[in-house]
């Protein structure tokens, strides 16, 4: 194994750095907890039937959210990526909007919306409310993943189906099975995000496993029990990924068509009205409704609060965007490295490590980073933005790995072998063959991770250096006891900044992809 690692120094550096800077702190924290015999023994006794029932409840809710998000996301993905639906480009970005806003803010907006129209919030302050809000938030993620999956299908396979049967059969019997990797990725990612989410169930007063972990941590200061409980979440996520990989292990994947990766688009014809209805309806309920509330709250007393919010946040723009962009690039590099060596060289352990870190609750991850890096000799990491980038890398590299793995699967290894035979080394092959072919997936990874990094709070709040100002943290610290109008204004500004950057990325990214 040592010799093989040296064979690919780039892989060795990335892998080694991830293990040293991110995995080791977590393992160290978990290890010292589990090997502290006295507290472990005591805490194991606290794991009673109620805790396990709570875990089951959390899994059921996460399952519902993942299913709904994948179903709606796939439908929207089909509409926007595989048909001639007009204004596709607009809706592709517009429907991403819920991802730009913190789940907590959306939960508040939804609750206020329901109250305004129904004068009662009982329905939303429940498990149903949690499922509703998180499904709206994560459906766009599913849409991107499944849309990308649909785009990767060899059009000849679809056309062969169209020659023998109608479109409906082709969709259900050929396209959906062929995009199974994307469907499963979507389900797994959304499930893990949902089961790890704390802010929305806490706000709605729904008791779930994450709120229980938070209580142990923050009300009882029982870190060891919180960490022990977190271990269950990590195990569930690992089992899910194992099932995902096992299920797909024997699946043979298609090759890119001989004339390139042209995507077959279908005419909606008489079904155009249905497309309009679907896209507009989703846009209305997932974006317009909560935004109506945010706007009303922001501008109820004029624009003064909005201006105040802008003044408060403007100092955070450049650092936040630069950090998020850097985080997106780093996570994409790490995720691609893990995915590439997993798919082509069968080195899967790196992927497992990415998932493991992804599944660890933010607060535990934060504590691990503090315990590991808070030493006098490591100030240059702990007291700088580097610690935040480490946090981002740990939290989101798994997403990049998932996105790029699906694209890498579609590339026949023979394309690389042909270059290998000509004596072209790995890095040049990556640069000239692999990257151009999977550029859309890499770009999607950068965009998605940018959004997540920009909005990340759970780990960042624990490790951000004193005196620094980052957008999501400032919104949440100001939120405590700020008037609702100020909070809503800040949310709108965060959203606007994110949207502007995303549109810029989309514009320049498209040009860049075409040039490669």
């Amino acid at each position: 194994m040592g010799r093989k690692l040296i064979e690919h120094p780039f892989y060795a550096i990335i892998y080694g750095s991830f293990v040293l800077f991110i995995v080791f702190p977590i393992v160290y924290t978990l290890g010292t907890t589990f090997f502290d015999g006295s507290s472990l023994a005591g805490n194991i006794l606290l794991l009673d039937k109620d805790i396990f029932l709570l875990l089951v409840k959390s899994c059921i809710i996460a399952f519902c959210i993942a299913m709904l998000s994948t179903i709606f996301g796939t439908s929207l993905g089909f509409l926007l990526y595989k048909t001639d639906f007009p204004f596709r480009s607009f809706f592709k970005i517009a429907l991403l909007i819920p991802l730009f806003i913190s789940p907590y803010i959306l939960a508040v907006a939804w609750k206020d919306f329901i109250y305004v129209f129904f004068n009662n919030t009982d329905l939303i302050s429940s498990s149903i409310g949690v499922i509703l809000v998180l499904s709206f938030i994560y459906t766009p993620l599913s849409m991107i993943i499944t849309g990308s999956g649909l785009s990767n299908i060899n059009s000849h396979l679809e056309e062969m189906g169209l020659l023998t049967t109608g479109l409906r059969s082709v969709v259900f019997k050929i396209m959906l099975p062929l995009m199974k990797p994307a469907l499963l990725s979507s389900f797994v990612l959304v499930f893990i995000f949902s089961i790890s989410n704390f802010s929305v169930p806490a706000f709605f007063g729904v008791k779930l496993f994450t709120t229980e972990i938070f209580i142990q941590f923050s009300a009882f200061y029982n870190h060891s029990l919180a960490i022990l409980q977190s271990a269950f979440l990590v195990v569930i996520c690992l089992l899910l990924l194992y099932a995902d990989r096992k299920h797909l292990a024997d699946a043979s994947f298609l090759s890119i068509g001989g004339k390139g990766t042209s995507i077959r688009k279908y005419s909606l014809g008489k079904g155009l009205w249905l497309g309009w209805f679907g896209a507009s309806f989703w846009f209305l309920i997932s974006v317009i409704f909560p935004f109506i509330i945010l706007f009303i709250q922001s501008f109820r007393g004029g624009a003064s609060k909005f201006i105040q919010a802008f003044d408060l946040l403007k100092s955070t723009f450049s650092d936040s965007i630069l950090l998020a962009f850097s985080g997106a690039i780093i996570t994409t590099i790490v995720g691609f490295t893990a995915a590439y060596f997993s798919e082509t060289k069968n080195r899967n352990f790196f992927n497992w490590l990415l998932l493991f870190v992804f599944a660890v609750p933010s607060v535990i991850f934060g504590i691990s980073l503090i315990k590991f890096y808070n030493h006098p000799g490591l100030d240059m990491i702990y007291a700088s933005y580097t610690i935040i980038l480490i946090g981002y890398t740990g939290k989101f590299s798994f997403i990049s790995a998932k996105l790029t793995a699906n694209a890498i699967k579609q590339i026949p290894y023979s394309l690389e072998e042909a270059a290998q035979i000509e004596g072209i080394g790995l890095y040049r092959r990556l640069r000239t063959i692999i990257f151009p072919l999977i550029m859309p997936a890499l770009f999607a990874s950068v965009v998605i991770n940018f959004i997540f990094c920009l909005g990340e709070l759970g780990t960042t709040i624990m490790v951000y250096p004193p005196g620094t100002e980052i957008m999501p943290i400032k919104v949440f610290t100001i939120m405590a006891n700020a008037p609702q109008s100020l909070v809503s204004s800040m949310s709108l500004i965060v959203f606007s900044v994110t949207l502007v950057v995303i549109i810029s990325l989309a514009y320049f990214g498209k040009k860049f992809i075409r040039s490669t």
């Binding site: 056309e159 062969m160 020659l163 994947f253 001989g258």
Partner: protein, 238 residues
């Protein structure tokens, strides 16, 4: 008698004009080869006949019935009773050989489906491969499965897009023999696309030579071999 008629067909991919005002008749129960280099429009003609593309202008009729008219597909692909073999075969990787072939059958009884599938597999000697997946077969076997799949629905017309491009010489000869027999055994009209004039000479009843979306010459093998057309002479020389 013409079974397929293309009248004044023009087609572009984006800004690139591929076919310009092309008219072509394909005779029934004959093997017609569309011969030409890359970008000559031969695959596009095949795809237009199949209904997988819509021309900017012109019309296409099959068995006297209008199926495509200027930017409008009147009869969808799966109702045209065509078989199509793609260059990359397009075998569904998640289906076994059996399922690949049986996919389009609408028989209700499983026994009837089985009988039909195994009959055609038997014709090509592939009965033992029925439960395998495409990636478990050799190149030649995959080719025969693709042909089997295209024949199971008893099409009147078989469209083949450079089906032998990825095979070695020996295998090509073997598959060509099978293809030659198809016309007789299955009462088919075959439209065969190739860039290899030797292939065309070996099996065609009629050859249509294409160059940049236009027909240079149409004729029998002998007529093409003795052509006075400068482009045709140059094309078959090399």
């Amino acid at each position: 008698m013409s079974i397929i008629e293309l009248k004044n067909i023009s087609h572009s991919y984006g800004n690139k004009v591929v076919l310009q005002n092309l008219s072509l008749n394909i005779e029934a129960n004959r093997m017609t080869c569309l011969l030409g280099g890359s970008g000559s429009g031969k695959t596009t003609i095949l795809r237009l006949i199949a209904g997988l593309e819509t021309p900017q202008s012109g019309q296409i009729s099959i068995e006297g019935e209008l199926v495509t008219q200027s930017q409008k597909i009147i009869k969808p692909p799966h109702m045209r009773k065509l078989g199509f073999i793609f260059q990359d075969l397009a075998l569904w990787p998640h289906f076994t050989v059996y399922k690949n072939i049986a996919f389009g059958l609408k028989e209700r009884k499983e026994k009837d489906v089985k009988d039909r599938v195994y009959k055609i597999l038997g014709f090509f000697g592939l009965q033992d491969e029925a439960e395998k997946f495409p990636h478990q077969l050799s190149g030649g076997q995959q080719q025969l499965v693709a042909i089997s799949r295209s024949l199971i629905l008893d099409p009147k017309i078989l469209l083949m897009d450079e089906p032998l491009a990825n095979l070695d010489v020996k295998l090509k000869r073997k598959i060509l023999e099978h293809i030659k027999n198809l016309k007789q055994n299955f009462d088919l009209t075959i439209v065969y696309v190739t860039h290899d004039h030797k292939e065309a000479f070996a099996i065609a009843d009629k050859i249509v030579v294409l160059n940049e979306g236009k027909i240079e010459q149409t004729g029998s093998v002998q007529q093409i071999q003795n052509s006075e057309n400068e482009f045709v002479k140059y094309f078959i020389e090399f």
